[in-house]
């Protein structure tokens, strides 16, 4: 069965996918490779982790019906949209499907890896909705997986989380902390809010946010997000050089330096904890060093030393006074 509402968007999807395929980083290497030089490592891969909200509410139908007046559940449309768009992605994209739903004990229905259409579609069709929306932990899991992959790709390639959700997250604060940490690590976050009454709290802080208030919009949004490519020409618009004119040479160098600092590939939570734990460790280190260099530098040690001296003095006097009568 093929949904009627997909048709108007088909040409859009086709174009998007075409643009994607053309701009895909591996495009150039493939044609070079045909000359017989198979020398490259797979370091330019585009990596996309789809975080699909399959909480109970995704089983609800869209509040508006489609063009044929059919009432379809959000999860159904999301699955159809992903199926249509993802199956048309170029072969050399790594994809992962992370589903948050009580129905699945392992949320990685499709672990991040090469696109295997048959396996991916079967994973997608197995999605069942149920439970709440614990977004934060899935964001971390998705991002950590992408970071580990980036380490393997020597920091090349592109990395993005596509979050498709229909409800606010349980712990908004943690979501915000993670969002900030993920963006600091230069991982792109795209969010599609499915049929939400109000904007998602992420809407204003991620790299892109799209509303999908009806089935058509959801398909369109998925297609659009995946059509955005990481590779672009680096040629500045000729008329825009005057934008740079007010910057001093030093400021330009300084901005370039700051922007090109290699991003961290440390897992999200672990690094946050590490930052906190650095200080106490340093204090310990200093204390130990001080002890080594001179005991009397440490007031505590000095006190113990004085106490010890007094005590031995007292014992000595007691001992002497006891001996005296003899």
């Amino acid at each position: 069965m093929y949904f009627q509402y997909l048709r108007p968007t088909l040409s859009l999807i086709a174009w998007s996918v075409l643009i994607f395929a053309y701009n895909s980083p591996t495009h150039a290497t493939e044609s070079e490779g045909s000359n017989g030089a198979d020398t490259s490592l797979a370091i330019h891969k585009e990596n996309i982790v789809v975080l699909l909200d399959a909480s109970g509410s995704m089983n609800d139908p869209f509040s508006v019906t489609n063009q044929d007046n059919e009432s379809i559940t959000k999860i159904q449309v999301a699955k159809e949209a992903l199926e249509t768009v993802l199956t048309q992605l170029t072969e050399d994209v790594n994809i992962g499907l992370l589903v948050f739903s009580v129905a699945h004990s392992d949320p990685w229905l499709y672990p991040l890896g090469m696109k295997d259409e048959v396996r991916f579609l079967s994973a997608l069709s197995s999605v069942e909705a149920g439970g709440g929306t614990p977004l934060a932990q899935y964001m971390k899991s998705g991002a950590d997986t992408l970071l580990a992959q980036r380490e393997r790709q020597f920091n090349y390639g592109s990395y993005r989380l596509l979050i498709i959700t229909d409800g606010q997250a349980k712990s908004a604060e943690l979501v915000n902390t993670y969002t900030s940490a993920i963006k600091d690590r230069q991982i792109r976050i795209d969010v599609i809010g499915v049929d939400m009454e109000e904007e998602h709290t992420l809407a204003t802080v991620v790299d892109s946010y799209r509303r999908a208030d009806n089935p058509e919009q959801l398909v369109e949004a998925v297609a659009k997000v995946l059509a955005e490519t990481s590779t672009d020409t680096q040629n500045g618009n000729n008329s825009q050089f005057d934008l740079l004119q007010p910057l001093t040479e030093e400021l330009a160098i300084s901005l370039i330096k700051a922007l090109t600092k290699a991003p961290s590939n440390q897992p999200i939570r672990a690094e946050e904890e590490k930052v906190e734990s650095v200080r106490p460790q340093n204090v310990d280190q200093t204390a130990r060093n001080t002890n080594k260099s001179s005991a009397s530098d440490n007031p505590k040690d000095t006190l113990i030393l004085i106490g010890f001296l007094i005590l031995s003095g007292v014992i000595f006097f007691i001992f002497r006074s006891r001996q005296k009568p003899n």
């Binding site: 500045g236 004119q245 910057l247």
Partner: protein
């Protein structure tokens, strides 16, 4: 370390003992003037072969195979039916005289030393030299310099100390070629000895105006404190002295070889064959013993070390486990497979016989050792004949190109250098090509010169990486940053187009605002539904593009080499994306300036030994 200190302490006593002593020369000169008027006489004896030896680890195999200076009954050479008498040959001029006189049919030296004598020995067809076998590559010769020389190109205008006529002349020739310099670009101080009081190390130590010197391992350690160290002035080291280039990196520079007089070779080919097969058998045996010594100790290896000490004397080899063993460790044997590679591999254009012959004769002519070109002759021994294959256990029939580099490891190491900002420090030489916007094809005609240079670097510097660094223009990233900043109200703009002024927090943007500005742009909340380009994303796209360009250039070079049937190990060429981080012009004001930033830079990068797969023979 200890061994070298000890050896170094004794070295000043060894004037003239160590290697070539060309007493006349204080600058290079025509080799025939060193020889005098020597007439050519037939080779005296064929029953006992007189074989010269020098102080070099490659000789260990000969000593072992012969059982000492005289062929010992039961030794490999005896089993080959040969009787050899080994004689000292460190005086190369003396060797050449003996060779012309017919006292020995052999020459024993580095390839380029033979090149220096090429005219003297090549004038008479009887004494033309047939280079019949390669013994080793050197891994123990070094160019040490003060802080004024970091890269090879820094040699320009500097005073350099080097031994006359010795093994380092060819190494210097290679280095100058690497940096596209000529002998006239440097100021050479020629010294009589390789080491000791009259050697380059002592000259360097005494005269601060000498910026660099060519030395052997013990001297290198004496000056710097160790291969990866920099001298501090303490413990006899020289302040700031460090290894710039070593044959551990420039591993295809010093080839130690045997050559034979053409007349003798033609009439005694089977004897030559037996001799060299015996030598290679000695190599296999020594390698085996060395391995078991390193694993669990070996009595027989200790006996060999003792023999080495007895032959060279305790002055040169004070200890067994350090000095004698160190001597062997400083060379890499090539074995039978290496000889097949050197003489029979048509793709081994640069570091095989033909490449060495060309560079040896080029050097002899251009540096004035010879007035006319007389080629050395290549071995036509059949290394796959039963004489070799029945005796040796590690042989090949056809030339094989060994896959030497560990692809992932070398790539990871170069990427790590880049991330830690030490890539420049590790670079020995670099050069650049520009390209057009969005250029994907790299014409082999247009870039022939650069491609040839890369192929040559990769061949000569067998243990270095050739990094291809792609650079992109930062204009778009900076424009995106400014545009996004303005859109998000972080940057305030005043003035007219062409005369804008930017403000942040009511003040002109200062250098200190950099981090804050980027953080604000990256993290600030914006209107829902709006799509704002992130400068990070544009920057990352530039990084991708630059790496892909580097990879495209690499592929073009690999194809170039393949088309010309020239050997090139593709894993040694490491493409790397620099992105926008090292622009030539950080703030381009027009497209022409921006295009100067779009370039690919080739850098010869020193890498660790871990990037190369271990093997019995290096070839």
């Amino acid at each position: 370390m200890e061994r070298n200190k000890r050896l170094f302490a004794i070295l000043p006593l060894l004037v003239g003992l160590f290697c070539v002593t060309i007493t006349l020369a204080h600058s290079q000169q025509n080799f025939s003037s060193l020889i005098g008027t020597n007439s050519v006489s037939p080779v005296n004896s064929t029953s006992t072969l007189i074989v010269p030896y020098i102080v070099w680890g490659g000789e260990a195999a000969l000593f072992y195979a012969n059982g000492g200076l005289q062929t010992k009954p039961g030794s490999i050479m005896a089993q080959q039916g040969l009787t050899l008498k080994l004689v000292p040959g460190d005086d190369f001029v003396g060797q050449v005289k003996n060779y012309l006189d017919g006292r020995t049919p052999f020459l024993r030296g580095t390839f380029r030393m033979l090149g220096q004598a090429s005219e003297v020995i090549g004038r008479d067809p009887k004494t033309k030299a047939v280079v019949f076998g390669q013994m080793t590559w050197s891994a123990g010769d070094h160019f040490v310099a003060r802080s004024s020389i970091k890269r090879i190109s820094d040699l320009r205008g500097k005073k350099i100390a080097i031994q006359t006529g010795g093994p380092h002349v060819g190494m210097l020739y290679d280095m100058l070629r690497t940096a596209r310099l000529s002998k006239a670009d440097i100021d050479l101080i020629w010294l009589d000895d390789l080491t000791g009081a009259e050697g380059p190390a002592e000259a360097f130590r005494k005269d601060p105006k000498i910026a660099g010197c060519f030395v052997i391992t013990p001297d290198m350690i004496g000056l710097t404190g160790g291969y990866d160290n920099t001298g501090t002035g303490a413990e006899g080291t020289v302040n700031d002295a460090h290894v710039v280039v070593s044959t551990a990196t420039l591993s295809r520079s010093i080839a130690d070889v045997y050559a034979c007089r053409k007349d003798f070779y033609d009439s005694n080919k089977s004897t030559i064959e037996k001799f060299f097969a015996g030598y290679l058998k000695g190599v296999e045996a020594v390698m085996q013993l060395k391995k078991s010594y390193e694993n669990s100790g070996s009595q027989e290896y200790m006996k060999l070390l003792q023999m080495i000490q007895d032959i060279y004397g305790p002055d040169i080899i004070p200890t067994l486990e350090e000095d004698a063993h160190g001597l062997i460790a400083d060379c890499t044997y090539v074995g039978q497979p290496g000889n097949v590679s050197f003489f029979n591999d048509q793709t081994n254009v640069i570091t095989g016989f033909s490449g060495f012959n060309k560079s040896a004769i080029d050097m002899a002519i251009s540096w004035g050792f010879a007035g006319k070109r007389y080629n050395l002759l290549p071995s036509d021994l059949n290394f796959s004949s039963s004489i070799f294959t029945s005796l040796l256990s590690n042989t090949v029939r056809m030339p094989v190109q060994r896959k030497r580099f560990k692809k992932e490891t070398i790539r990871a190491e170069v990427e790590a250098f880049n991330e830690e900002d030490v890539l420049d420090e590790k670079t020995l030489v670099s050069f650049t090509i520009q390209f057009k916007p969005n250029q994907e094809k790299f014409s082999q005609t247009e870039y022939k010169e650069e491609f040839d240079r890369v192929v040559e670097l990769a061949a000569k510097y067998g243990n270095a990486a050739v990094a291809i660094k792609g650079h992109t223009d930062p204009s778009k990233t900076l424009m995106t940053l400014v545009k996004t900043g303005i859109k998000r109200n972080i940057i305030k703009r005043t003035g007219q187009r062409g005369n804008y002024k930017y403000f942040m927090d009511g003040k002109s943007i200062r250098l200190e605002d950099t981090e804050k500005l980027i953080k604000l742009i990256q993290q600030k909340k914006f209107e829902s539904g709006t799509e704002i380009e992130s400068p990070y994303q544009v920057m990352r796209a530039g990084l991708e593009l630059s790496e892909q360009r580097a990879e495209a250039v690499k592929n073009a070079i690999v194809n170039y080499a393949r088309k010309r049937n020239v050997r090139l190990e593709s894993d040694q060429i490491v493409p790397i994306g620099m992105g926008i981080k090292e622009p030539v012009i950080a703030k381009p004001t027009n497209p022409e300036q921006a295009s100067e930033n779009r370039r690919v830079e080739f850098a010869l990068v020193k890498v660790s030994a871990e990037t190369v797969a271990e093997a019995d023979f290096d070839f």
